[in-house]
């Protein structure tokens, strides 16, 4: 029996815009978040996220459903787009602008400002990790993906994902502790 997502994907592959928009609505936030945490700039994150979905739409014919969520494929496109982005723009994360960019469209601005300060700290330290370590931590703990799905998206084994996750958490803790002591 085919899953709902598989049906949507097949419809989208046949040019069904409505089906693709449903997939877009389902995944745009997490893909944007993943990209934003990697590039650190709102405008860049929007451009890359848009590129990811346009690219997915244009190359949908080549996509083969293998039981993994559609997002695995989107994460893979996003990872490649981010690599391309950093090949061209080798800028660092704009720490000063982070707080504003985290606010999004939230109505309760005061609580989000407090949250933004904590977010800023973890994000800056996250950005200091290796790209693979960032990917695993974001997908595992921010997006609540399973190791199996992360392995599919990053084209690695589940064992490799567990190792990367362990090292990433350890490294992140060291970086945060160092900041606290300073």
């Amino acid at each position: 029996m085919r899953s709902e997502e598989e049906i949507l994907i097949n419809k989208a592959k046949n040019g069904d815009h409505v089906a693709f928009r449903t997939l877009y609505d389902r995944y745009v936030t997490q893909i944007y978040r993943f990209v934003f945490l990697k590039v650190g700039q709102k405008q860049d994150a929007e451009d890359i996220t848009q590129h990811v979905f346009v690219s997915a739409w244009e190359n949908l014919k080549s996509y083969e459903y293998r039981g993994f969520p559609f997002s695995s494929w989107l994460y893979r496109i996003a990872s490649n787009a981010i690599i391309d982005h950093f090949r061209v723009h080798r800028h660092t994360v704009d720490i000063e602008a982070i707080s504003e960019e985290y606010l999004g469209d939230e109505e309760d601005q005061e609580s989000t400002i407090d949250a933004a300060i904590g977010i800023e700290t973890i994000k800056v330290k996250l950005a200091e990790l290796e790209p693979d370590q960032q990917n695993v931590l974001i997908m595992k703990f921010v997006e609540d993906k399973s190791n199996k799905e992360i392995a599919e998206a990053l084209q690695k084994t589940e064992g490799a994902i567990r190792v990367i996750q362990h090292r990433a958490l350890k490294q992140l803790k060291t970086l945060i502790d160092a900041r606290t002591h300073n």
């Binding site: 745009v28 936030t29 994150a45 929007e46 979905f53 739409w57 904590g118 977010i119 996250l126 921010v142």
Partner: protein, 155 residues
Amino acid sequence: MHEHIIEQLKSLQSIKPDNGFVLRTRNLFIPTSASITAPSRTFSIFNWQYASAFALVLMCIVAIPFFVFTPEETLASLDTEVLSSEIHSLPITVQLQELKYNETAQDTITNAVSEASNTDTNHLDRSLIIKEGEEINANTEVDTNVDDLINQVLQ
């Protein structure tokens, strides 16, 4: 051990894109949108077919009138054998013409040089000519008998 860090990582879930951006991008995937078309790979293949057909038709349009309306002499001039023979004879003709020119030029140069170097050209000296003109006695009597004899012969 890492609970606090994991908790902080989960706080990143509050990051969301602007609604304006989400709607703007979503509108790219509307059928009426001109910017994005359905993911049809066959479209590019049809493009090639149309391009090839167009090129063929264009070639016929140009080639047929050329062969129909071009004079026979012009077409004959495109004969490769004729062109080949012309090309082979061309250097010989050029060489012959060049030899003829060199010969004429050689004579002209020789004459010019010899005239320039000749010291016996006093007759070309203007002062000498004027002097000779003064020496001619225009008032000397002429024997009119000679003229009469010539007139008789002519009659």
